[in-house]
């Protein structure tokens, strides 16, 4: 737990979210400045690159559409990291949960062909939630009953989840007419996420993501279950003494978190790719960690961070095509942003400690 305390302080501020938000915004600005300098060293003109990036990410309805489409799995999987984080757990298993969620959704679509869309789509999304949820609840249960560190188990389950899907799409679920591609048959129309803004090619998944973010916010700050999760995150021993079912909170937060990551997988299959393969996620589950942390592990912060990183990778894509900027710039900016947040947070932490000591002195002076 020693490592987690500073992490919690940096990424899960409880009282006073405004300084946290400021820290994130400043960190992003700092990261852009650093990457600008790096680009300049690599022989690019930073302002030109940023201009191309902004235009590529937000310059047209189509550009915005790609940004939002990128953001949907980032937001959903980011919620899957943020929720357990509030309960004191680090979910590194987003990628596995995405794969198992996609599998769950695919199985539902294939198992019940011919259902009306009003039933089929929600059922398929539920399949995604269940698949990811089970993949999150299992390490949660291991943590709660056997004391196994969830960081390790969720990382390892990434591989298991991926290879289960890989096995299935190469074998039993393989589309017989796929000409050698390892993927399933297409998802029936009735289970697809419909376009809500066709000219920008934005599908219903963004609404699902926003609803789930609102749900996560409500859960964490307006329900007894969420209160318990945050209590367990802030002090497991205190929670145990006050009668909170600590184990239940642990399992539940990873179940719901995993379920949300699973929905990310479902949204990719049902909204973009329409068939399950073993290469549909370029590591959303890992990017989700950055999204959740930069979003200060608050659901609405996750939405904002997800949109930002969605725009970032879209914009970097444009700059790559037009100017030859390396694709890795996305991860670079992500990483530097996180480093800035940790650094700024250690400064606020020092200030906080100082303020606390002064408050105590002030009180005793009277």
């Amino acid at each position: 737990m020693n490592l987690r305390l500073p992490l919690r302080r940096a990424f899960a501020p409880e009282a006073g979210w405004l300084p946290g938000l400021g820290a994130s915004v400043l960190a992003i600005a700092g990261a852009l400045a650093v990457s600008g300098a790096t680009l300049a060293m690599a022989g690019f003109r930073p302002l030109e690159v940023f201009g191309v990036m902004a235009n590529g990410a937000l310059g047209s309805p189509q550009a915005i559409g790609v940004t939002v489409t990128n953001a949907i799995p980032l937001i959903l999987a980011g919620l899957g990291v943020a929720l357990p984080f509030r309960c004191g757990l680090l979910n590194i298993g987003g990628e596995g949960q995405i794969y198992m969620g996609a599998l769950g959704a695919t199985l539902v679509t294939l198992a019940f062909p011919g259902l009306p869309a009003a039933v089929h789509l929600p059922l398929a999304l539920l399949g995604g939630f269940v698949g990811g949820g089970l993949w999150g609840a299992f390490p949660g249960w291991l943590r709660a009953s056997k004391g196994l560190n969830e960081i390790i188990t969720t990382i390892m389950l990434n591989y298991i989840g991926f290879w289960i899907v890989s096995f299935l799409v190469h074998g039993p679920l393989k589309d017989p007419d796929s000409y050698g591609y390892a993927w399933t048959v297409k998802v029936p129309e009735s289970a697809r996420l419909p376009m809500i803004l066709p000219e920008a090619r934005i599908h219903l998944g963004i609404v699902v993501a926003l609803i789930l973010a609102a749900f996560a916010h409500f859960l964490l700050w307006h329900t007894t279950l969420g209160f318990e999760m945050r209590a367990v995150g802030a002090g497991p021993e205190t929670s145990r003494f006050s009668g909170i079912a600590v184990r239940r909170s642990v399992v539940l937060s990873l179940l719901i978190g995993g379920g949300m990551a699973g929905m990310a997988g479902a949204a990719i299959i049902l909204g973009v790719q329409f068939r399950l393969s073993d290469f549909f996620s370029p590591g959303y589950g890992f990017d989700a960690i950055a999204v959740a942390l930069v979003g200060q592990t608050t659901p609405f912060g996750v939405v904002a961070a997800g949109l930002f990183f969605g725009a970032l990778s879209n914009g970097v894509g444009s700059a790559h095509r037009d100017l030859g900027v390396a694709q890795g710039t996305t991860s670079f900016i992500q990483g530097v942003t996180m480093m800035f947040i940790v650094a700024s947070q250690s400064l606020t932490l020092i200030r906080l400690l100082r303020k606390r000591r002064m408050a105590r002195l002030a009180e005793n002076a009277h």
Partner: protein, 509 residues
């Protein structure tokens, strides 16, 4: 004796607060000098300045007559100043030896040559009478020995002046005596010690001189031999305190509230067990449970809080069998508890005041319904308790970690006492609190006793037990050694019982 250290006119101002105002402080060679004052009196600031953790705004420091500037703990170490912090700075998974060596050079290049170092350190430890198991990992050692490792580490770095910050706060009475022995031996060999404390009896016992700080100012420096406990207390708080709590005789209602009969808790690792504990608490009385830490108190508390199911035996509350009840069920029977460690067992430090105040009620109406919190009512509830219990805070939204220790304690008292519990389980509740906050806690506890609540007071602080309890039971090795009405307590008998002699054996002899 020559003056080793002299601090003159030390002033440190934080925005809005004068932490130190022209403080003068002086330590002679080979002296044990106590620095006394309530929390926030400026002791820690002064010592942080001396140890280079912060710099003063004005004033100067002279070591052996030479003016020095201390900008960092490294500077301090080079000048022969060592500090043993209240919370030890040791690596739990390293052995004692590795911890002492950590951060120093053994003078052998990149190789550690631990065996040679071990021989040298063993000799050093023997010289000062420091009993240390060098090969054991820190996490397996009792706190007293961990502290000796800290002392040895400071000595190994050549400390001629040792700052001990609240060194007895975590020690058992035996360990305190052992520490005092070590400090005397250090003094004999010319080392000076600054002994920071707010425990008057310890200051009187160990120190040669005592300096009292109050509100950041130097109040007095006295020879300990010429000071009395009352005088020091008065200097500390600026008003006379009644150290022994005024207490009316118990109006025991002769109604058995809590009955523990033959309770056993067996654990795999063999520590912290209960081996047939029986006791009862009546309405309107305080039963004090004395004993050295680690003799089954924790197991007893866990049983009474519903966290551990006894392997054998029965607990009844108001005639109802509550063995194996959950904490919630016990709460429903109007049991409250004040834990020993505020930070890890009583509070959620990162969460707000209102959330902490609602910790025992958020799941009930009116604070929630169908699992949905009613935030408005919870905030109103918190504001009511904050004003009722006089918790000093800018608002109920701020994190509990920003409150002072005394106000954190008030918060716990507010949460646990506002609904007038029938049974109160109190464990070392005043540990680390200053005189004012301790007095406040005692007053509240007695109020509730007089109202008719039964109180089980588990404490390793004998003074606390003796000043509050109506009856005193002593626990040792998971067994009750006997029970004495508090009026007839003979401290030496209590001491025998605490070290494992049953009362029967004593009365027979």
């Amino acid at each position: 004796m020559d003056t080793l250290l002299r601090m003159e006119g030390i002033t440190k101002v934080y925005p809005g607060v004068v932490a130190n105002h022209e403080v003068a402080f002086e330590v002679a060679e080979g002296e044990i000098h106590a620095l006394l004052g309530e929390n926030g009196a400026g002791k820690t600031t002064l010592m942080n300045i001396l140890f280079g953790m912060t710099t003063p705004d004005a004033g100067r420091i002279l070591l052996s007559g030479e003016p020095v500037r201390i900008r960092s703990p490294r500077d301090a170490a080079e000048l022969g100043i060592g500090m043993v912090h209240q919370h030890f700075m040791l690596v739990p998974r390293f052995t004692s030896l590795q911890n002492v060596v950590l951060g120093t050079s053994t003078g052998t290049g990149p190789w550690l040559k631990l065996k040679a170092v071990a021989r040298r350190l063993q000799a050093l430890a023997e010289q000062y009478g420091l009993d240390i198991d060098f090969d054991a990992e820190i996490q397996d050692l009792p706190l007293g020995m961990q502290q000796r490792v800290e002392i040895l580490r400071a000595l190994d770095r050549g400390a001629g002046l040792l700052i001990m910050d609240e060194p007895t706060a975590v020690l058992t009475p035996d360990e305190v005596q052992m520490l005092f022995g070590i400090l005397r031996r250090l003094a004999e060999q010319g080392h000076a010690t600054v002994f920071i404390s707010h425990k008057l009896d310890e200051v009187l016992e160990i120190s040669d001189r005592v300096t009292v700080l109050r509100d950041g100012r130097h109040v007095a420096t006295l020879k300990t031999g010429e000071a009395t406990q009352q005088q020091l207390a008065r200097l500390m708080v600026g008003r006379p305190v009644v150290l022994s709590v005024e207490k009316s005789p118990a109006q025991s209602l002769d109604r058995r509230l809590l009955e523990v009969s033959d309770v056993w808790v067996e654990r795999e690792h063999g520590r912290d067990q209960l081996r047939g504990v029986s006791l009862n608490v009546h309405a309107g009385e305080i039963l004090g449970m004395a004993g050295i830490d680690g003799n089954g108190q924790r197991a007893l508390l866990e049983v009474l809080c519903g966290l551990t199911r006894p392997t054998r035996g029965q607990v009844t509350l108001k005639g109802i069998d509550v063995t194996g009840c959950t904490p919630r069920q016990l709460g429903d029977l109007n049991v409250a508890r004040i834990p020993e460690d505020r930070r890890t067992m009583g509070l959620l430090m990162a969460l707000s005041i209102w959330e902490n105040l609602a910790l025992q009620s958020y799941f009930r109406e009116p604070h929630s319904r169908w699992g949905i919190l009613h935030l408005g009512r919870m905030a109103a509830f918190a504001r009511r308790l904050v004003s009722e219990f006089d918790i000093k805070t800018p608002g109920v939204e701020v994190a509990v970690s920003t409150l002072s220790g005394g106000n954190q304690q008030k918060l716990i008292l507010a949460r646990e006492l506002h609904h007038d519990p029938d049974l109160l389980i109190v464990a070392n509740a005043t540990r680390g609190l200053d005189v004012g906050a301790t007095e406040y806690t005692y007053r509240r506890l007695l109020e509730h006793r007089d109202r008719g609540a039964g109180i089980l007071l588990v404490s390793s602080d004998l003074e606390e037990i003796l000043s509050l309890s109506d009856r005193v039971a002593v626990i040792h090795g998971g067994k009750i050694m006997g029970e004495i009405p508090s009026g007839e307590v003979d401290p030496s008998v209590l001491g025998m019982m605490m070290t494992g002699t049953p009362l029967e054996a004593l009365t027979r002899a």
